[in-house]
Symmetry: C2
């Protein structure tokens, strides 16, 4: 099952040439989830030959512009391009008001419906579930109400061993994949263990958009497979990070290490950094399995 994320933006606050504000596209089993939507996100879809029309759900972490100013344009273009399937949007409550006022004054009656789910930033809770995935909020510590998101794959069914199962009717596959042994009309028993292998263990991806270092959000990201964490500044600017409620590259590494995550992706880089290698090296000095969020790059989760 596909579980991958494509980075569409890695810049903080103000965009930089070649670095757009925050946006990521998560593909879980060919269902597409957009995570944050900074200005220009729809142009990034075009640039990287991705299809915005395939997005089903959008998660907005908070109402600083570099995380959502591209949403109204994306939604408008989907409308103009003929979308009719509903769009689910999860975000801070005022987001709907902000969208509606702009649709109102442009006299736009969307062809598709927006199903809006306001997020409370008071405690972590489950906000979404389908057959593949559970999504929970992560309460972050930023200047305004902000939540990250953790995307947890559900336990998958066992996998059919095709070579062995080719001789038996497909009608029995469902039971076998669930681990149930099947008795044929002849009395023969088909053992699930003989025809299937265990499912891949479910994986998890945590997205911590904008936050200062704060142990209160550690429990929910503990042990996750891949953690995306902001690393706005080098640690020499710790005071600035604290003042603006952001994290340093060093601290991002500490968050990953303390919480025993398997891999870390850092992003949300301050526009003052023209190159990013030193941020990467600072994080890796604490947590080696770190990668930079590079725009247009897809990370297998």
């Amino acid at each position: 099952m596909k579980f991958e994320v494509t980075i569409l933006g890695s810049s903080s606050a103000t965009p930089v040439f070649n670095r757009n504000p925050s946006a990521q596209l998560l593909n879980c089993n060919e269902k597409y989830y957009l995570i944050d939507c900074g200005e220009g996100t729809q142009l990034q879809f075009t640039k990287y030959n991705l299809k915005a029309a395939r997005i089903d759900c959008i998660f907005i972490s908070h109402l600083h512009g570099d995380h959502y100013f591209g949403l109204i344009g994306l939604l408008s273009s989907l409308h103009l391009n003929g979308r009719i399937k509903p769009m689910q949007i999860f975000g801070p409550k005022p987001l709907l008001e902000i969208l509606e006022i702009q649709f109102k004054y442009s006299d736009t009656n969307l062809r598709y419906s927006i199903e809006f789910f306001p997020i409370e930033a008071d405690e972590s809770r489950q906000i979404f579930e389908n057959q593949d995935l559970i999504v929970k909020t992560i309460i972050l510590n930023h200047r305004i109400p902000t939540t990250g998101f953790i995307f947890q794959q559900k336990q998958r069914q066992r996998k059919i061993i095709k070579d062995k199962a080719v001789s038996i009717p497909m009608a029995y596959y469902t039971a076998l994949k669930r681990g149930i042994d099947v008795e044929l009309p002849s009395g023969e028993i088909l053992k699930s263990n003989d025809y299937t292998t265990p499912a891949d263990p479910p994986r998890s991806y945590a997205y911590c958009s904008d936050t200062m270092y704060d142990e209160r959000y550690f429990p929910i990201i503990k042990g996750c497979d891949t953690l995306y964490h902001e690393a706005t500044f080098m640690h020499e600017l710790l005071d600035r990070a604290n003042e603006t409620h952001h994290t340093t590259a060093l601290q991002a590494g500490e968050v990953a290490k303390i919480n025993g995550v398997k891999r870390l992706i850092i992003g949300h880089f301050s526009s003052r950094y023209k190159t990013l290698q030193m941020l990467l090296e600072e994080t890796q000095s604490v947590f080696e399995q770190t990668e930079l969020a590079v725009e247009g790059r897809t990370y297998q989760l």
Copy 2:
């Protein structure tokens, strides 16, 4: 005196790879006026190495997203980059409400003040004047209240002939430039005509963002030096143009011809056109002095 416009976006409704939504930067005597501000405009400034910080006035023609979705991001970045000088914004009245709600929920207290001038789309009127320029609205015919803008240079003073005037005190220049003859203490008369040449004739630039063909706006653009006019569709899509209150390339040429403008720039091209040559040729079949609005290109007015 500099009087030039740089195209930052030439696309209609939905952006296309390499064509951004509407935005233009007018430079009149080193004062910068932004005309419309589609999504991604601030990125265009970076791309073309222009300084958004130098903008003093912003004119928004109407509240369709492709003409203003980039404004909130631009204003936010100017704030984050330390702007303190006021910004004058001219646009439909609800624009201020749209901006304020977004500043409110991002808890942004701008370091600079916004001086907002609501535009009424009922009749053409003068909305701005300084020592160089007068700006008037053009009442367009679109689906929602929409105004274009005409930027008219003021009559300039006569120009000093430096080689001749080098022998006389500069204190007399002001009078001579105004066409006034000066009597020296010696009784000698300095004739303005001897020391100055006539000023360049004032030029004008009309911006017609989104409109269907409508003779009611012809009087104000009549005889202007450069007309920017939308040309969203080829004339074979006239029905679609009428339905969406847009102009065809052929009609744009007719507007220019009928009104005796000196030059026409067409833009706001539908995303269906991958190349633009046929739009240009259609317009030129009626009005030869036509150019395409090309992003990043500066047009001397």
